[in-house]
C-alpha cells in the first residue's frame, strides 16, 4: 500500500501558530449553545456543499459529536480541511442571522473543526460516512491529487468503485496540502485527512506520475491509456505555475512566485529566510495577502504589499487583510513594479515602481523600494494542456468546460472539477464539484 510522504522537520511552516486553535469540548458546547437553530438557515445556503449547519451544531450542544461529524461529512467528505481553510467570514459565518442582529456570529468553522477532528481522531473517517458498498469491478482514474480528486476518489470508493489518483508531485493534496497559509492548516493536517480518505475503500494514489497528452515516458501515463484502461476519468488538474511580470531583473535569486514560495515554506526544510529584512509582495489577491502575512509571521521586519489599484479593488478578502495588517503587513496602493534591481553579485537589492492609475502606470519619477525578497502573487497560469489528450474536452481561456449540473465534459467518459474548471476558488468549491461529478458518474457507471 502507498505510504504518504513523511515531511521532514525544520520547515518554516512549523514556526507559525494556528490562529484559530481547536476548541476544547467545553468551549465547543458553550458556542454551540449560542446557535439559534434556524430553519431554512442562511448559513446552509451560503455553504457551497450545503452542510446542514444548525443540525450539526445542535448535535455538538448535546455532546453528540460523532453525529455532528456525520452530518458534516455526509455533504463534505473533506469537512475537516474546509473547517480550517474555508473563508467562513464570507460564507456561512457571514450569513449568520446574528450579523443582522448586531451580535457576534456563531463560530461555525471552529465548531465544524471540533466535530470533525474529534470524531475522526476517535473513530476514523470510515465509521462516520456511509458504509462502503461491495466492489463493482469498475475503476476510475483521477488526474491530479488536489481536493477535488481526493474527495471524488473517496466518494467513488464508498460506492465500491476502484479509484486511482495520478499525481505528478511527490506530496499529494494540491494546494490544500501545499498552498494553505500555515496559520490555517499545516501540510501534515492536510495529509492526515488524505490518509483517512485513502482508507475508505479501494483508492490508489500514484504519486510522482504525470499524466501527459502525448506518448508517456518514464514516470508518465498517457491520457489515452487512461481512457482505454478506466471506466471513467476525472480531471482535477488545478492551476499552473505562478505568473511572472516580465520586468527587467526579475529572473534570478530572491524573486519567487508566491505559490512556489508558500509551497517551500510548507514542505521544504532547505528554505531559509536568513538575511531577509525587507520583503515585497506584488499583488492584491488572497495569495498575496497570505504570503505577506506568512513572511511577517516568520520574522521579516518589513513586509509591503504592492498593488496596482486601491484597497477597495483588491480581490483578497478584507478580513484577511485586516489580520495581516494586525501583524504588521503594510499595503502600498496604486503602484506598478517596473524593474528589479540587483547588486554586482546578482543579489536582489530592491525594485522600482511607477505610480499607477486604474492599474496602469502613469508618467512620473520612478520610486525605489529596497528589499531582499520579492513574492509575485499576480495569478497563476492554467494547467489544462493535458486536457488535449481527451478528445471532446473543451478548454476555454485555460479552463475546462463542464456542464455545471453534472461536471461532465464534452467527452462522455470524462468529468472535471476544482480550480481547473472554476479558475481558482476554495477547497469547498472543489469538494462540491467533485460531489456533483461523482453523482453523475455513478449513473454512467451503472451504480445506483
Amino acid at each position: 500500500m502507498y505510504q504518504l510522504p513523511v515531511l521532514p522537520d525544520g520547515r518554516l511552516e512549523q514556526r507559525i501558530k494556528d490562529y484559530k486553535p481547536a476548541y476544547s469540548p467545553g468551549e465547543a458546547v458553550t458556542e454551540a449553545n449560542r446557535c439559534l437553530y434556524c430553519v431554512d438557515a442562511p448559513c446552509v445556503k451560503a455553504c457551497p456543499t450545503g452542510i446542514d449547519i444548525p443540525n450539526f451544531i445542535h448535535k455538538i450542544s448535546t455532546a453528540n459529536v460523532a453525529g455532528a461529524a456525520r452530518t458534516i461529512l455526509k455533504e463534505n467528505l473533506l469537512g475537516t480541511s474546509c473547517a480550517r481553510v474555508c473563508p467562513v467570514e464570507v460564507l456561512c459565518v457571514g450569513a449568520c442571522v446574528y450579523n443582522a442582529w448586531g451580535r457576534e456570529p456563531i463560530a461555525i468553522g471552529r465548531l465544524q473543526r471540533f466535530a470533525t477532528e474529534t470524531a475522526i481522531a476517535s473513530q476514523g473517517l470510515a465509521k462516520l460516512v456511509t458504509a462502503k458498498k461491495a466492489p463493482t469491478g469498475k475503476k476510475v482514474a483521477l488526474v491530479g491529487a488536489g481536493p477535488a480528486s481526493v474527495a471524488a476518489a473517496g466518494l467513488l470508493a464508498l460506492e465500491g468503485h476502484r479509484a486511482v489518483i495520478f499525481e505528478k508531485k511527490a506530496v499529494p493534496g494540491g494546494l490544500n496540502t501545499l498552498g494553505i497559509a500555515p496559520y490555517k492548516q499545516s501540510a501534515n493536517q492536510a495529509l492526515e485527512e488524505i490518509r483517512h480518505v485513502l482508507a475508505l475503500g479501494d483508492v490508489e494514489l500514484k504519486a510522482g506520475v504525470e499524466v501527459v497528452a502525448g506518448a508517456a515516458g518514464a514516470g508518465q501515463a498517457s491520457g489515452e491509456s487512461l481512457l482505454k484502461d478506466y471506466d471513467a476519468v476525472f480531471l482535477g488538474l488545478g492551476l499552473g505555475p505562478d505568473s511572472a511580470l516580465g520586468a527587467s531583473g526579475e529572473q534570478g535569486a530572491g524573486v519567487y512566485g508566491a505559490v512556489e514560495l508558500i509551497e517551500r515554506i510548507k514542505v521544504d526544510p532547505k528554505l531559509v529566510l536568513n538575511g531577509v529584512k525587507r520583503a515585497v509582495v506584488v499583488g492584491g489577491g488572497n495569495t498575496a495577502i497570505d504570503i505577506a502575512h506568512e513572511l511577517k509571521l516568520l520574522g521579516v521586519a518589513d513586509v509591503a504589499m504592492v498593488y496596482r489599484r486601491g484597497e477597495q479593488d483588491m480581490s483578497g478578502y478584507a478580513h484577511e487583510l485586516t489580520h495581516a495588517r494586525k501583524h504588521g503587513v503594510r499595503l502600498v496602493e496604486q503602484r506598478v513594479v517596473t524593474a528589479f534591481t540587483r547588486g554586482a553579485d546578482g543579489k536582489l537589492t530592491g525594485l522600482t515602481m511607477a505610480r499607477a492609475e486604474n492599474g496602469k502606470p502613469v508618467a512620473g519619477e520612478p520610486e525605489a523600494l529596497s528589499c531582499e525578497l520579492v513574492a509575485l502573487a499576480i495569478g497563476q497560469a492554467t494547467g489544462t494542456a493535458v486536457a488535449k489528450a481527451f478528445p471532446g474536452v473543451q478548454v476555454e481561456k485555460g479552463s475546462v468546460v463542464v456542464d455545471p449540473k453534472t461536471q461532465r465534459t464534452g467527452h462522455p467518459k470524462v468529468w472535471s472539477g476544482g480550480d481547473c474548471v472554476n479558475g481558482g476558488k476554495e477547497v469547498v468549491n472543489a469538494v462540491q464539484e467533485a460531489k456533483l461529478a461523482v453523482r453523475d458518474m455513478l449513473r454512467a457507471l451503472g451504480g445506483k
Binding site: V29, T30, N33, R34, L36, Y37, C38, V39, D40, A41, P42, S61, G94, A95, V97, Y98, N99, A100, W101
Partner: protein, 462 residues
C-alpha cells in the same frame, strides 16, 4: 421611595427579602454577612437532633448554557451542635435587633418539640418555622415531608407547638402532595398564623450515564433529593395562589419560596399574596450580593406603579387567578411580526408548524412547497417583505395566516429577538364576552362535533 418594611403576622422586618432555611443560613457569620448585604431576615438552617451528612450533596439541572436552572440536594438539617447554633442565633439577634431571625425546627416527640421551642426562643428569635417539608432523609425518619403529607399529623404537631410557643409560628409546607389546600387548611385549623411554601420537590436530578447511578452520587448510590431553583417557580406560584384565594387559608401570612432569584420574581410572589419571600438557590449560585438589586428593583417598581408600600402590592393578582370555566371564550389574539426587527431565523415558523397550528408561512415558496411544508390553509396573498437587517438579503419576514392563528403565544415565546412578535388583541368571533361556565349554566355546553352533540342531534342524548 416606597416603604419595603413588612409586618409578617406580628414579625416586623425591614424588607420582605429573607433567606430560606438552607446552606446560606448555616452559621452566624454567614447570616451577619447576609444582613450586612441587605437581607431583611433569615430562617436559620433547621435545628433538630444531630445528624450526619453525606458527600456529595448537590446536583444541578442545566439548560443549554444556563447553569443551575434547577438545584437538587440531599443534605439534611444542620449538622452543627445545637448549642453552637443557639449561641450564634443569640449573638446575631443581639447585633441585628431590627433584622428578622426565624428558627427552623424539626424534631419528633412532643417532649423534644417543647424543649427545642424553649431553647430557640431563648435566643431572642422572632418566630419559629416548622419544617414539615424536607422530602429527603428526614422524612424516612418520620419527620419533614412525612408530616407535611399527613394533614392530621401536621395539625396535631402544630397544636403542640402553638401551646408552647411564645413567638409566631410559621408552618412550612411540602409541595409533594396532591392538593396543597389539605395541609394548608390543617395548619389553619390548628391555629397557625402563617405558612411558608414551597419546600423542595422530591426529585432525582439525573443519571450518570457512564456509571448508571443517579446524581448527586454518593459512591455507587444516590437517593432522591429536594428540587428547587428557578425551574420550580411556576409550581410554587400556583400553590401560593391556591392558598391565598382559598377562604379557609387566605387570612394567613405567607412567606413565598421557590425559585425566587430577583425582584421581579419576588414581586410576582407578593402580587399573588405572599408577605415575605425566601431565597436560597439564587444565593447559592451568586451570593448574598443579589439582594441589592432586589431591594432597588422592587422599590423602583412600586414607585413606578404609584404604590407607597409593598403592602399595596400584596395580593393584587389574586382576583385574576380564575378557574378555566371563567375565562372569556371571545377573547382573541393574533401574532404580529415586526418586519423592522425580524432577523429571519424562522424559528416561529417551525414552532408553529410542528407545535401549534401551521399558520406561519415562509414567503417566496411556491404553493406546492407550502403544501409540502404542511400547511393545510394557504392564504391567497403571502406578502414578500424582506428582512430589513443587513445581510439578510433574499430572506422574507414570515407571514401569519390570521385565518389559522389561534393566538397561542408560541411564536412570541420562541422568537429570540425581544419585542419582535407581538400578540395583538382583535375582535373575537363570538362578538360578546362568554365563558364556558355561562354555557354550562345555559345548557349550551356542547362542542359542535363532539360525541354528546352528535347524540343530541340524533335525539339520542338524555
Amino acid at each position: 421611595m416606597a416603604d419595603l418594611s413588612i409586618d409578617f403576622c406580628g414579625i416586623k422586618s425591614p424588607n420582605p427579602f429573607w433567606l430560606a432555611s438552607a446552606p446560606p443560613t448555616n452559621s452566624g457569620p454567614q447570616v451577619m454577612r447576609a444582613f450586612d448585604a441587605g437581607w431583611g431576615g433569615a430562617v436559620w438552617k433547621t435545628l433538630g437532633d444531630p445528624i450526619t451528612n453525606v458527600t456529595s450533596r448537590f446536583w444541578a439541572h442545566d439548560y443549554g448554557s444556563t447553569r443551575m436552572m434547577g438545584l437538587n440536594n440531599i443534605e439534611l438539617i444542620t449538622d452543627r451542635p445545637l448549642e453552637v447554633n443557639l449561641k450564634e442565633m443569640y449573638e446575631v439577634k443581639k447585633r441585628y435587633p431590627k433584622h428578622t431571625v426565624i428558627a427552623s425546627l424539626m424534631v419528633e416527640s412532643r417532649e423534644n418539640w417543647r424543649e427545642i421551642i424553649k431553647k430557640a426562643e431563648d435566643t431572642g428569635c422572632d418566630g419559629l418555622e416548622l419544617n414539615f417539608g424536607c422530602p429527603h432523609g428526614m422524612c424516612e425518619r418520620g419527620m419533614g415531608s412525612a408530616v407535611g403529607q399527613e394533614p392530621k399529623v401536621l395539625e396535631e404537631i402544630t397544636r403542640w407547638v402553638l401551646e408552647d410557643a411564645k413567638t409566631p409560628v410559621i408552618v412550612k409546607l411540602t409541595p409533594n402532595t396532591g392538593d396543597i389546600l389539605e395541609p394548608g387548611e390543617a395548619a389553619a385549623k390548628a391555629g397557625a398564623p402563617a405558612l411558608s411554601l414551597i419546600n423542595t420537590i422530591k426529585s432525582l436530578l439525573g443519571v450518570d450515564l457512564d456509571r448508571f447511578v443517579p446524581n448527586p452520587r454518593v459512591g455507587g448510590k444516590s437517593t432522591n433529593g429536594g428540587y428547587c431553583g428557578p425551574a420550580v417557580k411556576p409550581i410554587a406560584l400556583h400553590m401560593l395562589a391556591q392558598l391565598t384565594r382559598n377562604p379557609a387559608t387566605k387570612h394567613l401570612a405567607i412567606s413565598g419560596i421557590g425559585g425566587i432569584s430577583n425582584w421581579r420574581d419576588a414581586a410576582e410572589f407578593i402580587a399573588l399574596g405572599a408577605t415575605s419571600v425566601q431565597v436560597c438557590t439564587a444565593v447559592m449560585h451568586y451570593g448574598y450580593r443579589i439582594v441589592e438589586d432586589m431591594i432597588e428593583g422592587l422599590s423602583d417598581y412600586l414607585d413606578s406603579k404609584g404604590m407607597k408600600s409593598v403592602n399595596e402590592l400584596r395580593g393584587r393578582a389574586v382576583p385574576a387567578y380564575a378557574e378555566w370555566g371563567e375565562l372569556d371564550l371571545n377573547y382573541n389574539l393574533k401574532a404580529r411580526i415586526n418586519a423592522e426587527t425580524c432577523i429571519g431565523c424562522n424559528l416561529c415558523h417551525v414552532a408553529c408548524m410542528d407545535g401549534a397550528h401551521q399558520c406561519i408561512l415562509i414567503p417566496g415558496r411556491t404553493h406546492e412547497e407550502h403544501v409540502k411544508a404542511g400547511h393545510t390553509h394557504i392564504p391567497s396573498s403571502i406578502p414578500e417583505v424582506p428582512v430589513k437587517a443587513a445581510g439578510a438579503i433574499g430572506r422574507f419576514v414570515p407571514v401569519v395566516d390570521d385565518a389559522e392563528c389561534v393566538g397561542c403565544n408560541l411564536c412570541h415565546l420562541v422568537c429570540p429577538v425581544p419585542g419582535t412578535i407581538a400578540m395583538t388583541e382583535v375582535p373575537g368571533a363570538i362578538g360578546k364576552s362568554e365563558t364556558w361556565n355561562d354555557r354550562v349554566a345555559q345548557g349550551r355546553d356542547l362542542n359542535p362535533g363532539s360525541l354528546q352533540s352528535t347524540l343530541a342531534k340524533r335525539g339520542l342524548a338524555k
